[in-house]
Amino acid sequence: MNSLSELGPAFLEATLQTLAMVSIAVLCCAIFGLLLGSWLAVTSPQGIAPSRGVHQVLAAVVNVSRSIPFLILIVLLLPFTRLLVGTSIGTAAAIVPLVIGGTPYAARLVEAALLDVDPGLIQAMITMGASPVQSVWKAYLPEAIPGLIRAFTVLAITMINFSAMAGAVGGGGLGDLAIRYGYQRFRLDVLILCCIVLIAQVQLIQFAGNFLARKLDRR
């Protein structure tokens, strides 16, 4: 049986895999989430260009994808993942369900952060002749920056959580290590160490998120 120290390189690799998976997934989710979330906020009844039909269709898509448990989503997406990256196992393959599962979640967080912006401010923008796109670009997004950073912090932490689940089906990373050694080989020490590294990552992200949000808050 390998001692914990012999597993050092495996730990390092798994940690880096988790970080890579999470950072790429968060980046993609943030971009798609900003687009989808802005669209949701703009078309919502309190938005600048309310559109019942568009909003309901978007909301339905988001709700349906959010109600599928992540583990099931990974399985459902297997053929698509294989099509996209050529394999359904490993870190690259895990990013696909992470992005697809995380985007609707990010969109809802973005929508909430944007709708938190004082509606009076948006009306002022309209009276200055702003188009809906200009309102989003020049008022909604910049005014919501502290809220958006807090939203992306929550997103990043959820992604760490999801990435550990992706590990369970061969996605690589700390979740994978914890399952293979901690669960299948009864290595409680590996399991605990994986948890400690995950906790440290979450704490670090939360701390950085809070710091940035405070730093950029001009109110």
């Binding site: 004082d118 401010l121 009276t127 200055m128 002749g129 020049k138 910049p142 001009r218």
Partner: protein, 269 residues
């Protein structure tokens, strides 16, 4: 715009917020000639803000027309309205400055939205900051300013596109007497300097008396009376005007020569 066309021409507008709700505005008409300061007075719920929102086309009246500098805003399609909006500046009661933008970036916002060239924006913003004595605050954020400074930034922003009409919603409420006098003075000077037509919404009869050429008193969505400030304050005809004057009976210290002379002219109200 022809010479005798009013800058703001509100023609019999009515507005209700739900099909079975009472009329928030009931056939309200008012015309403000170019270069005048017009006050709309009334108690809370009289329809002052609804009128302002209709003039700003944040609400669409169910009947009637509103002409701004000669063009009918009630029937303008969205893209043209966007372009026309540069003709109107608005100072909201809560000012609505963008907290994420510095003073200069707030003032340049309407010009950016109108896609003016950068050099033009820079020159205009510098000119306005100097006029409003906020140049040294250019790089500050609104949260770092005093109430009076924020008010000046909001006024500068409203005037950025060189509008022919300025709407001010309760510009003096929640201000201390000294700042209030200075804001009223500034509004008066803005009219003289920029030739802009000003419509002020207020419940404070003293503010209106100090700078308005004409006054319209609203009561429950209808015009109770309308006419020159002097005439209305000298001999108020409507019950609501008398009540407004009684509510504001305590002599206010609006300490500028301009306003004092106006107060003397109309007697102690």
């Amino acid at each position: 715009m022809s010479l005798h066309q009013p800058a703001i021409d509100v023609r019999a507008i009515s507005k209700r917020f739900a099909p079975d709700a009472p009329l928030a505005l009931d056939a309200v008409s008012l015309a403000v000639p170019e270069g005048e300061i017009h006050g709309v007075l009334g108690l809370s719920g009289a329809g002052k803000t609804t009128l302002l929102r209709c003039i700003a086309r944040l609400e669409i009246p169910e009947s009637g027309n509103i002409l701004i500098a000669g063009s009918d805003w009630t029937s303008l399609p969205a893209p043209e309205l966007c372009r026309e909006r540069g003709k109107m500046g608005i100072v909201f009661q809560q000012l609505h400055l963008l907290s994420s933008r510095t003073v200069e970036a707030n003032i340049s916002l309407p010009l950016e939205l109108n896609r003016r060239p950068n050099a033009v924006i820079k020159a205009r913003v510098a000119e306005l900051m100097q006029w409003f004595r906020i140049t040294e605050k250019a790089k500050n954020y609104p949260a770092q300013l005093s109430g009076g400074q924020r008010q000046r930034v909001a006024l500068a922003r409203a005037l950025a596109t060189n509008p022919s009409v300025l709407l001010a919603d309760e510009p003096t409420s929640a201000l201390d007497p000294e700042t209030r006098a200075s804001v009223l003075n500034t509004l008066h000077n803005i009219r003289d300097q920029f030739g802009v037509t000003i419509l002020i919404i207020t419940h404070d009869i003293h503010s209106a008396a100090a700078i308005c050429d004409e006054i319209t008193v609203l009561d429950a969505g209808r015009i109770a009376e309308s006419g020159s400030t002097h005439q209305i304050l000298q001999s108020p005809a409507a019950e609501i005007t008398k009540r407004l004057m009684a509510h504001n009976a305590s002599p206010q210290n609006i300490d500028t020569t301009l306003h004092r002379s106006r107060f003397e002219e109309i007697g102690q109200i």
